[in-house]
Amino acid sequence: MSAVLEQKTFSRRQVLIAGAGVAGGFVLGIPQLANATTDSDRMIGYFVEIRADGSVVIGSNQPEIGQGVRTALPMLIAEELDIDWSMVSVRQMPLGIIKTADGFTWKYGGQGVGGSTGLTSNWEYMRQVGATARAQLIKAAAARTGVAEAECSTRPGVVVCGSLQTAIPYGDLIADASALPLPEESPPLKDVADYRVIGSRVKSVDARDIVTGRAKYGVDTVQPDMRYAVIARAPVLNASVKSFDDTETRKVPGVVDVIKIEGPEPGAPYVILASGVAVIATSTWAAMKGRQLLAIDWYESPNATDSSERFWAENREMLKGDGQVVLDDGDFAQAIGDAETVVIRQYQVPFVSHAPLEPQNCYAYVQADECHIIAPTQMPSGASRAAAAVTGLPRENIRVDMTRVGGGFGRRLTNDYVAEAAMISMQTGWPIKLQWSREDDIKNDFYRPGGLHEMQAGLDGDGKVVAWAQRLASGSKYYRRPNMPDEDLFGAELYIDDFPRRIVDNIRMEYFHNAIGLPRGSWRAPAHTANAFVVQSFLDELAHETGADPLQLRLDLYGASREIEYGGHGGPTFNPGRLAKLISFVADKIGYGNTLPDGHGIGLASHFTFGGYAAHAIQVSVVDGKLTIERIVAAIDCGLAVHPNAVEAQLQGGTIDGISTALGLEITVLDGQVQQSNFHDYPLARIAAIPSLFESYIVPFDEQPTGVGEMGIPSAAPALTNAIFAASGVRIRALPIAAQLQI
């Protein structure tokens, strides 16, 4: 993204503001923007504060959802600033947007975490911020000592000037350095070989606060005069409030108000999910008690008869016909007609909920001409837009503070709960903390779309795959987007450039959209979780049908290390050789090919997700229909691992998420109502499901980092189901597994 720089005068220092669009993209590589001068004589730009004792406070501009960005991004700055990590503490920055003639621009660089871009989109930028700050300190030291800048260098925390060999601590230079005009361009960045912080085993900056209960999440927000709110939302999808009786509710001590919440029109784009009635009280518990006592009459919903059973039956019907052809390379019909062996299989991937452990919540205080939002969100600019849409206030008058976030997984890309809180505050005048219960969360989500996939492959006499098709009937997550033409709906569900495109010559993809009232959205690694399960299961089935070895079949398809074109997110290229290397690695680690006792088996899978590569090898036993996971080996190739502890954590966490979801999770609908409500019927895996034999490896590749938040999940489920087949001959073609095996 290019940036137009304009200059303004501000205080005694210069301010540089970049004119890049704010619409939701990321601003790359604009250290001038980040270093725009502040009024503090302890700061260089917005991100770096140096204290007299030499300690450094680094600003973190991104939401921390557990991916470790509050540690990883400051590591980039610390590296180039040349400071010992032990001297660093981290400060959360709020949303920063600045009004321009034609919209808004970022004040602190693009802010928002999704698509595993938190690190990659800030990789250049944060290093430039650090390098620029270091250059300013050098300049200040040169001016003070009279030694030429080129003769000055740094050691951690100090500038060393020429032959004087006097080391001047940063803390002594900061006042001078902060007053110097900022350079137009970033100084050169370090060589990888010189990294001391990047790639080191730094621990999470927040770990101590977390283990002592001090870390603050959205739910922990307390503000003066704050009132607590909960909402009784429509139990039936898209139903709306006809009337309500709050007589009993208002008798509950502490209840101060009860109001109606208007929902969105069915099918229309929305800022909130559901119509309902909000109860406002002096405590969360009083609000919850009051809610129980509401008597609400609902209008009949157009989705009142929606059911999962009907959805799946419709999908099966759809696949019998012809869908929208969204990819057609080579001549699939000819190739499959000529094939020696044809294999056709169907796989069912259910709707699932995000269920971050911190239920949705938001603080909002709407006043006549301003609004304050404090929210756990992945998209603070979306929070600002949601509050603006509700209140009609100009966005520059909406202040958005970010808390630590108790899990994201894509749920908090959407700021519906921010809009709700703003509605309640606006209508009642109170500063409001809106709290969702777990039931609210499970029943009102933007679920991962469920879909029925049909895979077809043709193999020649040598077992080579010559024709490949994927046909999907699903509820697209794009269904409610403004201005989204029907023929683009597939794009969220089928990533046409995924493996095996450009490897198998004759390839076709077909899409059938099946509308259902259940809201859909981005669920960690969106369509990759479904597609990796389907494709990696199907490869095993092809191996089985042709008597090939599942590992060898993959290695033959992946081939040597080479870059092939990849137009989707994570491109511009994809290197299947990196998948070959990783899957061989995990196979080797787990002892693939060794003879196992009866009822035991090993499954393998690998997948390319948004620029990163992962593979899993899982060993299970299936005895008398009871599944036990015995051992897990996971590996990730994320290029350069900037923050290895977080990379490992994301790999392990993604693996467990994949397994937990495949084992037991499914959202179903009956009579237009979501049937699950809490962790008893939406059973996230507990520690007992995860074996103590669990290894995770980072396999290095090159000097460029990729993201890591979503790469660990897609190949976990198919490795597990492939292992189940190897152990028992039971092929899991519909998730979750618990419907077919005892877990």
Partner: protein
């Protein structure tokens, strides 16, 4: 009116006796280290100790803890500078991701080690039923074993 102690401090609550201890801690006393995850005793994010035993505070009416001693995550460390061995072990293995479940995981672990000072993996599987949505289980398991070691060392000294 219900009186009890929290982290050795005397407190009293004169609201509804059926209010869950969780909400008394969080809304009335502003002790927000104890988290709300499910409200029905499923996830363990709200785990505190009542007279030394782990209890899920979201399903513990405050009336039932009258005259009892409550310990929360805020009161676990012996001092500002010194951490409880379980907290130390958690730091050694850099356990938390989002961290939301971890207060509950730590409180559950302290109780497990009180009952069983050197738990096996199977013991951990049966006793630790707290949910971690981020999937920190591999490190939690290691940290529990490490905490058992640290506690044993502490006792020898």
């Amino acid at each position: 009116m219900v009186s009890f102690t929290i982290n050795s401090k005397k407190v009293s609550f004169d609201g509804d006796g059926d209010t869950p201890l969780l909400w008394v801690l969080r809304d009335q006393l502003n002790m927000t280290g104890t988290k709300f995850g499910c409200g029905v005793g499923q996830c363990g994010a709200c785990t505190v100790h009542v007279d030394g035993q782990a209890q899920r505070s979201c399903v513990t009416p405050v009336s039932t803890v009258a005259e009892q001693a409550i310990t929360t995550i805020e009161g676990l460390a012996p001092s500002e500078l010194e951490l409880h061995p379980v907290q130390q072990a958690w730091l050694e293995f850099d356990v938390p991701q989002c961290g939301y479940c971890q207060a509950g995981q730590i409180m559950a672990t302290v109780d497990l080690l009180r009952r069983n000072p050197s738990p096996t993996d199977a013991d951990i599987d049966t006793s630790m039923t707290n949910i971690c949505r981020c999937g920190t289980y591999a490190r939690i398991r290691k940290a529990i074993h490490r905490a058992a070691e640290l506690s044993a060392q502490g006792e020898q000294e």
